[in-house]
């Protein structure tokens, strides 16, 4: 399944300054072009893992290798170039006065020439379908538009790995659907930390379950998301689409799984 691992995490440990330990030995590998979901309860260590992969935190123990390079202070600059992190709250990420400026922020920091930057920005905006927003101010965008623009801002750096922290949080159903469709078209390796298990079902063939800072399960989403005992242990619930439909059950009297919705995994 794993072709050539672009992300290798082994026995990663992390404790915050106040002593709470967030990660207690997490290990996993992600192959090139793979889409992995990291799920788990609040405080299970999802965000902390993503922050490590993005180089915002450095391993206190254990190691993180991205595209073969070990994550440490010296390799931060090249590693950040191939990893794009999307924050849960788009407002934290859209700090420039206009959408164009924000998408251009990364490429300009790379020191690219102006024309190249412009091409990259317009290309990235086109990919997420936000070309018309280029001259808008971030605070005038809707939640869905903000999300699309943050993706463009990350794509303009042409990363090979995308890290998404709760990408569907606070999105209305239609924006959420559009986001999922957009993510499905991207070719990058994608790692999503989320509570939205229906999103996982649609986007990620593989799921990693974290509980209290360690890996509880790692495997095909179709299997893991049906394992009610495992999900309950991780403070999660079976995705709605996989739950038995109360209407159908009322008619047929049997707890048929997936009567209205197909299991697309």
């Amino acid at each position: 399944m794993v072709t050539r691992p672009v992300v290798e995490v082994s026995d990663l440990r992390h404790a915050y300054a106040d002593g709470t330990s967030a990660l207690r030995g997490v290990s996993f590998q992600v192959g090139d072009g793979e889409r992995l979901a990291i799920v788990g309860a609040n405080g299970a260590g999802k965000s902390t893992t993503l922050l490590h992969l993005a180089g915002c935190l450095l391993p206190q123990a254990g190691s993180v290798r991205i595209a073969g390079l070990p994550l440490c202070r010296d390799t931060l600059a090249p590693l950040r170039r191939c990893v794009g992190l999307l924050f849960q709250n788009p407002d934290d990420q859209l700090f420039m006065p206009r959408v164009f400026d924000d998408v251009a922020f990364g490429p300009l920091n790379l020191g690219l020439p102006a024309d190249e930057v412009r091409t990259r920005v317009m290309h990235a905006l086109a990919v997420v379908g936000a070309t018309h927003l280029a001259q808008r101010q971030p605070h005038r965008l809707s939640g869905g538009e903000k999300r699309a623009v943050t993706i463009a801002a990350v794509l303009s750096m042409s990363p090979t790995i995308l890290l998404l922290d709760e990408p569907t949080a606070a999105l209305d159903p239609r924006s959420r659907r559009q986001l999922i469709e957009l993510l499905q078209t991207l070719g990058q390796t994608i790692i999503v930390a989320t509570h939205d298990l229906d999103l996982v079902l649609d986007l990620c063939p593989r799921t990693l379950v974290l509980g209290e800072g360690s890996v509880i399960a790692d495997g095909a989403s179709g299997i893991i998301l049906r394992d009610e005992a495992l999900l309950a242990a991780a403070h999660l619930e079976k995705p709605l689409r996989l739950q038995s439909c109360p209407v159908c059950r009322g008619v047929s009297g049997q707890a048929a799984s997936g009567c209205h919705s197909s299991n697309r995994v």
Binding site: A77, R80, D92, P97, N109, P138
Partner: protein, 270 residues
């Protein structure tokens, strides 16, 4: 408390005016900034009893307002909202300066009233010019203009970030204040300890947010500088605007066409 609710949408509106399109909007922001400053300096450089030489200066805001297609009613309302301080100080002039300066029929007008009128006129002119500047340029363009005119980068970056997060934090303050109002059961006015804890909560959230923004910046190669890819070019139109208004304003200031025109007319009719 009401001020948050009333001023935030308003603030956004002034900003949105800047995204309109007009010959004035298309001008280089540096040119507009310099012209506005010159205008203000000219207006306030008259002595305290100047009234008639100030009036012709109204031509600048009027022309810009119309050319930039800005809503005059809105700007007028903003003027009124901002007037109290100037009025507060100016209102003392008639009290302290009672010497009669002008007779209009049997009406005697003291110097104080004239200087008060002059203060208010200055106020209207200067504030209108500044509002038109913002409404026709946009805040970020003005920041860019400042940067190109030599303002320190750290200050310009600070202005840009402040403007960006005003709305975000304003909303947050609003939510906190509403949550507090929900539980205060109609008691009006907030006491100091309550406001302190409200502000402290807002501050803690702000500090967390700053940390996240910093991470987001770092992830995209932030090195202490915010770069804007926006070419500013001063073209022929910009130059014409600058030179034209400079000439006009200096003429209004030092030649003072008003009395001349007045005398010419007066000479004709009598």
């Amino acid at each position: 408390m009401a001020r948050i609710e009333s001023s935030f949408p308003d603030f956004g509106y002034l900003d949105s005016l800047a995204s309109r399109d007009s010959p004035i909007h298309r001008l280089d922001p540096r040119v507009k900034l310099l012209t506005t400053l010159l205008f203000i300096v000219c207006v306030v450089s008259f002595d305290r009893y100047a009234l008639s030489p100030l009036l012709p200066f109204a031509i600048y805001p009027v022309v810009l307002l119309t050319l930039a297609k800005l809503p005059p009613g809105y700007l007028l309302r903003k003027l009124l909202l901002a007037s109290p301080f100037a009025l507060c100080i100016g209102i003392f002039n008639p009290l302290f300066d009672r010497a009669i300066l002008l007779h209009v029929g049997s009406l005697e007008i003291s110097g104080g009233w004239i200087s008060l009128a002059s203060i208010m006129l200055r106020f209207v002119l200067t504030v209108a010019a500044a509002l038109i500047l913002v409404a026709s340029s946009g805040f970020d363009s003005l920041c860019l203009a400042l940067a190109r005119l030599g303002a320190p980068a750290a200050f310009v970056v600070q202005l840009l970030l402040l403007h960006r997060y005003l709305f975000v934090l304003g909303d947050e303050a609003l939510r906190l204040a509403r949550a507090r109002a929900q539980r205060s059961f109609g008691r009006h006015g907030i006491e100091l300890p309550v406001v302190a804890s409200l502000l402290a909560q807002l501050l803690l959230r702000t500090l967390d947010r700053a940390q996240r923004i910093y991470l987001a910046m770092k992830c995209r190669g932030f090195d202490g500088e915010l770069r804007l890819l926006r070419p500013l070019r001063i073209g022929a139109t910009d130059l014409c605007f600058l030179i034209g208004w400079t000439a006009a304003l200096l003429c209004l200031r030092f030649v003072g066409p008003a009395p001349m025109i007045g005398r010419a007319i007066g000479g004709m009719s009598w």
